[in-house]
């Protein structure tokens, strides 16, 4: 077997608590499908037959095939972890280490993309890379985010990504938060790759192909707890660190271990490198760079590659703005008809072509639904205008309401003649009739929100 897929679905969605305090992030409806459907669909389309899903107990109950509406016969192997202990993604991978027998493809449940996955995997295969990842051009979100009360969220820290002249080899990766007094690049990197492009407008898709020996390395080094935060920068740095000469006897191995405090990745990796591969590289007349005297890949054993998507859909649904944008883009990715066949829509309604109506909905007369998503089992009464909004499952909207640019979570009830603009209505909330709300967050209040913050670095 070549690759095993591991889907990380235990994150709490700490950056969009307004949505996730009641609904778990993997089950948030996007385009009337649970969020976790998108990466599973991507894996299935490409040809995976088995996926290991790491998630919490509550989510596991919901992950039955019919609820997930998966067409194919992909086998889901759901592994539960306790959320009380603060587990990072690397810890979770260590948890399932027994099941991993080959190279692994790690992705997070909030990735919505239509990338041609073979591009990432081809880099991984062709160059025998230790790690290959996917990045995409960052799209600015243009929709107004509801419930912000005019406050501007602090700009997210940028990622500085350095790639070589071909645009595929990853040379440098750091987050703005880690660079206190400027960007420093090691001289050894500049000597080996004199031409480097540093890009900041990139979104990390959290899709990684990792070699088996990297997983083994994780097992040995228990102090790495986050893949994105610690393992990937470590691998990128390790490409250029001075290579350790392979120790010949046990004493040297122990000594080098004591010196470094952790098992050398190269020792684990290079055991796999065989005599014939070395012979092949010796006889082959190919080199990945020209102009200096070193052999292909500068003799380095650790290699990290990145595939940067220039166009195409790639979103990580970890903020409210991303969630709204994803809902807009969802119709392009789903092949199902936008209006579910079991929805009951009366004749005098206007449903725009870019709206999605979920299953078993009831839309009454004289309503107008434009650029919106209406969740399953929702009821919309007469003379309602819904524009640019997202209604989750089980929402009831009484007559005469006007909903604009808002997000209404599941099982909420909007009273008659309510006027809701750019608001966020929480789960199971009741909006009184004739209420006027503009740009407010109508869910549980913020202090309660703060106490629900989840573990630190889940793909959030």
């Amino acid at each position: 077997m070549e690759l095993q897929a591991v889907l990380m679905a235990a994150g709490g969605g700490s950056r969009m608590m307004e949505l996730t305090y009641n609904t778990h992030k993997p089950l948030l409806p996007v385009g009337n499908k649970p969020l976790i459907w998108y990466p599973l669909n991507l894996l299935e389309r490409v040809g995976f037959e088995e996926v290991i899903i790491i998630t919490t107990k509550d989510v596991q109950k919901m992950l039955t095939p019919d609820r997930l509406k998966l067409d194919g016969k992909m086998k889901l192997d759901v592994v539960c972890i306790q959320l009380e202990g603060e587990m990072g993604t690397a810890d979770a991978l260590r948890h399932v280490q027994q099941k991993i027998k080959t190279d692994v493809l790690v992705l997070s449940c909030d990735l919505i993309t239509d990338v041609a996955l073979h591009e990432v995997v081809d880099l991984f295969r062709a160059h025998n890379a230790s790690m290959a990842m996917l990045m995409s051009k960052l799209h600015e979100f243009t929709e107004t985010v509801p419930g912000q009360k005019g406050k501007k969220k602090a700009g997210e820290q940028r990622d500085f990504v350095g790639v070589d002249a071909t645009g595929q080899r990853l040379l440098f990766m750091a987050n703005e938060a880690d660079l206190e007094d400027g960007l420093t690049i090691r001289k050894s990197i500049m000597c080996k790759h004199p031409s480097m492009r540093i890009r900041t407008g990139l979104l990390d898709a959290h899709l990684y192909c990792l070699k088996r020996c990297v997983v083994d390395f994780l097992v040995e080094n228990k102090n790495i707890s986050s893949i994105r935060g610690e393992l990937i920068p470590y691998l990128v740095r390790k490409q250029f660190s001075k290579s350790v000469n392979l120790p010949n006897n046990k004493d040297e191995v122990e000594m080098s271990q004591k010196m470094e405090g952790q098992t050398n990745l190269e020792i684990l990796g290079s055991c796999k490198d065989e005599e014939l591969l070395r012979l092949t590289q010796e006889r082959s007349c190919w080199n990945d760079h020209h102009g200096d005297m070193s052999e292909a890949y500068h003799g380095g054993k650790v290699r990290c590659y990145v595939h940067i998507m220039e166009d195409g859909v790639c979103y990580r649904v970890n903020t409210l703005a991303a969630y709204i944008e994803a809902n807009r883009m969802a119709p392009k990715l789903i092949e199902d008809p936008p209006i579910h066949p079991s929805a009951v829509i009366s004749e005098c309604t206007q449903v725009g072509a870019d709206s999605i109506i979920g299953a078993s909905c009831q839309i009454s007369d004289k309503t107008s639904i434009k650029r919106s998503t209406v969740g399953a089992s929702s009821t919309v009464r007469e003379k309602v205008k819904i524009t640019n909004s997202i209604l989750m499952n089980g929402v009831t909207v009484e007559e005469g309401c006007n909903i604009q640019g808002s997000v209404i979570c599941s099982n909420a009830v909007i009273g008659r003649n309510a006027d809701i603009k750019y608001c966020l209505v929480g789960s199971s909330q009741r909006i009184e009739p004739d209420a006027r709300h503009l740009d407010s967050n109508l869910s549980i209040n913020d202090s309660a929100l703060g106490s629900l913050k989840m573990s630190r670095d889940w793909p959030a």
Binding site: E2, H118, R125, A126, E282, R283, S284, C285, W286, M293
Partner: protein, 475 residues
Amino acid sequence: MADADETSKQAERNTNVGDGIAVKKQDIARAKNEGKELTKDEKQRLRKEKKQQKKNKKDDKGESEHENVPLPPSQAVVQCQSQKAPSVAPSLALTPVSVCTSEKPAKSKAEQRAERRARQEADRAAKGKKGESAQQPPSGKSKAPPNELQPVVKRLPEHVQVDDPAAVRKLAKKLERQQIPVRSEYGYKVSLFSHLHQYSRKAPLTQQISIPSTVIHPYIVRLGLQYSQGIVAGSNARSIALLHAFQKVIQDYKTPPNEELSRDLVNKLKPYISYLNQCRPLSASMGNAIKYVKKEISNIPCLCKEEEAKKQLLSCIDNYIKEKITLAATTISAYAIEKISNGDVILVYGCSSLVNHILCDAFDKKRKFSVIVVDSRPRLEGREALRRLVKKGICCTYVLISAVSYILPEVSKVFLGAHALLANGYVMSRVGTSQIALVAKAYNVPVLVCCETYKFCERVQTDSFVSNELGNQYT
């Protein structure tokens, strides 16, 4: 009557060159007819006479056997001449070159043929012209040769006949049966190379394979990618990589319940070989390696246990690499080093692993020589050869192939590597090698071709158009 013209022209050329034997034979032939000295007018008359005789002969006898042999090559020549050369020619990967200075034997064959024909026609003319019926329409002649061609020309291998839809369909069906994706071709094809594959570079083959590839072993998918991207290039490297991948396949192989390892494993390998062929056409060395592995697998006794059989196969493959590649390189370099004397200036072309090995060995044995590396686009492999030699400490000069005639006066020997050695003695190598050899011949510089025996193949190719690998026209 082009072929008659051809042969007579050849006869002329031969006589003009002044090969004594040829002149004598021609004289004898003509003496039988006319008993006169050769002059220009005589030659013209002779030609016209031959034409007339040919037409009469057609009426008399129709197809005669001895015509078959000389016809196909001249027919082929006519066809080639009638095609227009395209303005953008895709680069050829390989070109055959005749080893050493072998022009003399080739000439004498052609002139012998010409003499034979002249003699036979003279005989027939002497017999008398009976029953001169009207000329057969020229279409009769053009129809006849294709019929004659068929019993003589054997079936060409599949990869050569892309402009034949039946062959293409057959290949597609075979690949479909083996569940291997078919590589898509370019929309616009250059007519001169319409019989060769012109693959589109936009759609890689891996797009059609499922990502954790189940039909094709992951190592083979990786190998195919490395071949098509040029990461593993060079005859020896490709063979070693192929055998390494086969070792992995054999290690992971499990005999199905009712099958025998000796038969089933061979069947398992066939789709992998088709896949690799799709990624990049197999080289002669790879073909020989595959034949060897298949033979070894078939020779496994049926009572052998699976573990033992696998171990035996793995050690066979190791032995093959050790003997045919590593030890052969050592032996060849031992012979070649004797040819290198102190103060030599050696010219090498491109990056041949064997030639590099020889030069490095010679340097280790304290020979004093310098090297001129000749390079050519688009691959510019000479840079890699240059790097390796300079790293060793050898004094090198680097030129492009356009400068080869300027640099040759300084060269004392030329060392060339080979991709394959054909059964008629032709050497198949990187495009540009024949150019180097011809220029070297013009300057009287000895050319040495180094080739391991496992690259010898039974194919025969007379030129580089018949079967070749096309490169990317946009690099």
